[in-house]
Amino acid sequence: MTTLSLTQAINAGLRRALEEDPKVVLLGEDIGTLGGVFRVTDGLMKDFGSHRVIDTPLAESAIIGTAVGLAYRGYRPVCEIQFDGFIYPGFDQIVSQVAKMHVRTQGAVRMPLTIRVPFGGGIGSPEHHSESPEAYFVHTSGLRVISPSNPQDAYTMLRQAIACDDPVLYFEPKRRYHAKGEVEVDAPLVQALPMGASRIVAAGTDVSLVSYGPLVKTALDAAIAATADGVSIEVIDLRSLSPIDYAPLVASVRRTGRLVITHEAGRTLGLGAEIAAVITERCFNYLESAPVRVTGFDIPYPPSKLEKHHLPDLDRILDGVDRALGRPNSHTGMDDWA
């Protein structure tokens, strides 16, 4: 066990993958000499060479598109998109090529790409640096989408993503980059929880609270705060956003009868929509109240001085829990829907 920050854990995962498989190459802007704007790739070019850790020209469509060609040639490219808001120039290559190449070729060609994307807000950044674009990719068939919430998962899930023969979008909760945790770096990958599995991170009996990536910590904090109020929250870390591993969620909601989902992305067609729909389908007779979504607003990410309003925080999550419980101290009266 070593204590690593989330960035260090990702760095260790990349290093391990580069060591283990000569077909792994890293592509991105400023990932080489600089080691990435978040230092996630620090030291890797020095240790593995500029043919394995490739500083590319400034063009995201080409980062993805040449990775497709490298995959065609048998490589396992790991692309870094510098910030969430810069993934859109590469959207066409992701949606029309990466996601479809395997099915297009009836299985002949594999696209074992990993696309790393630092995402989410909360670090006081300018425009385009705090987006939560995961729903676009969850809606895109042919892709897998995952997001770790802690250093151990960051390390293990990254290695699993790189080893996976399907393309994987790997969303890194950038405001948790400096969070530290114990990481077991030598445990055999086959014994690890599969990257597709969700995980109950706090047991509880009154409400099921689902989140992923940056808000898992906040959700756990909310669960702790709620105990003071005598409310027992079960917290589930999705880990995999596509496909979602529903079994633990369904089992949890069938026990608690109440569901709250929280994410930073805007509410409309954010992941909460799908989870609410599926859980309603699968747990209709168990639900005591409608699933509650505590999310970013349906606005472009606001200037950073306003982000504290946009981002769900402990209070807003607890307010959502109150709503799910139908408690009168719910602040928002959101059940006044007309």
Binding site: G65, G69, R73
Partner: protein
């Protein structure tokens, strides 16, 4: 309010390299000659045969579309020399990234043409196994494949291989951002990739002059990539030009760009009506530059095309077409579950659930027909 488009000043002109004129006369070209020194009469006749067979396949496919056997067909009529000359310059291990129109290339690479037609029949999106032919499947997103070729070529460099990748693209494609980014990456990494642009003068209804007032090959030097214009209806010149580019690529000379000047004699696809946007004079003008006719004249001149040889080629073309037709109309419809296959390599529980549920649903009808006519609408 004035109009937008104006004649630019200072229009550049480039030399179009040529080895056989429209009249079938062999002319010298200082750059290209050395690359076809070794091409003897029989090889010339083979190039001719390729073109004849490909044209026959193209006609047969158009006919199959008219008869409802194909949903759509993108004819390559007029572009036979560009396709044959370029693909015949390559080694088998060189990897090709085509568009939807390189069916002549696919034929030369050994594709089973009925399988290739499966794409246009609506059976599948794969016309051949990419790794069997060393040729990617048809790319419909304009320009996207140029990045794939560049990435593949980067992989070749990493592997220390001395082979190369070749991307086909159209004149219209040159406007796409992806094509630019390919050139940037190819130049930055000195990737062994050839960008082979068939300037067939049209992007559906848009004349090439809308994409650029100046020669497309003139873009390349701005990236530090040599650009060459070649007569795309001259199969020998195309062969030579592609060999020139291939030699550069294989010997560490980096990328190059070839603009093959040719003409789309047919519609964009069978769904297109070119009479809406272009006149007959243009067609006639290009008819006089036909790639097959000129090679025919040249071979006659060389004495390489007696009646027997000609008959043999015609017979081969007929046989290929007959086989193609038979194989095409016998292509079985894909089974419903095919829709769910190969979306992912690894297990995907949610999609598996959808598959199982849908097949159970289908089975529930038993022999009884579903009541609805599912798909209305018109051809595209």
């Amino acid at each position: 309010m004035s109009h937008l488009r104006q004649e630019p000043t200072g229009r550049d002109e480039m030399t179009m390299h040529q080895l056989i004129t429209a009249e079938g006369i062999r002319v010298a070209d200082a750059l290209l000659d050395e690359f076809v020194d070794d091409v003897d009469g029989e090889q010339l006749r083979n190039l001719y045969r390729d073109m004849v067979v490909i044209r026959r396949i193209d006609f047969e496919s158009t006919a199959l579309q008219r008869q409802g056997q194909l949903a759509l067909w993108p004819p390559l009529l007029g572009q036979e020399a560009s396709q044959v000359g370029s693909v015949r310059a390559l080694e088998d291990e060189d990897f090709i990234f085509p568009t939807y129109r390189e069916n002549g290339v696919a034929y030369c690479r050994g594709a089973k043409m009925a399988d290739a037609l499966g794409v246009w029949r609506g059976n599948t999106n794969i016309g051949w196994d990419p790794y069997e032919l060393n040729m990617a499947t048809p790319q419909i997103i304009i320009g996207a494949q140029t990045l794939h070729a560049t990435g593949y070529a980067m992989g070749l460099t990493l592997d220390g291989k001395d082979s190369m990748a070749l991307a086909y693209l159209g004149d219209g494609a040159t406007s796409q951002g992806d094509v630019h980014e390919s050139m940037v990456f190819a130049a930055s990494f000195q990737a062994p990739v050839v960008f082979f642009c068939q300037n067939n003068h049209w992007a559906i209804s848009e004349p090439v002059g809308l994409q650029s007032h100046v020669p497309l090959a003139g873009r390349a030097p701005g990236y530090g990539i040599p650009g060459l214009q070649v007569d795309g209806n001259d199969v020998l010149a195309v062969l030579a030009a592609t060999r020139w580019a291939a030699r550069r690529a294989r010997s560490g000379g980096g990328p190059s760009f070839i603009e093959a000047i040719t003409y789309r004699m047919g519609p964009h696809t069978t769904a297109d009506d070119p009479t809406r946007y272009r006149g007959v004079t243009e067609l006639e003008e290009w008819g006089a530059k036909d790639p097959i006719t000129r090679m025919h004249s040249y071979l006659l001149e060389l004495g390489m095309l007696d009646d027997g040889a000609q008959a043999a080629i015609a017979a081969e073309a007929d046989a290929v077409a007959a086989d193609l037709r038979l194989a095409c109309i016998s292509l079985p419809d894909p089974a419903p579950q095919a829709a769910f296959e190969h979306v992912y390599v690894d297990a995907h529980p949610l999609l598996e659930e959808q598959r199982v549920n849908y097949l159970a649903y289908l089975n529930s009808f038993g022999e009884q027909e579903k009541t609805s006519v599912t798909v209305q609408g018109s051809p595209s």
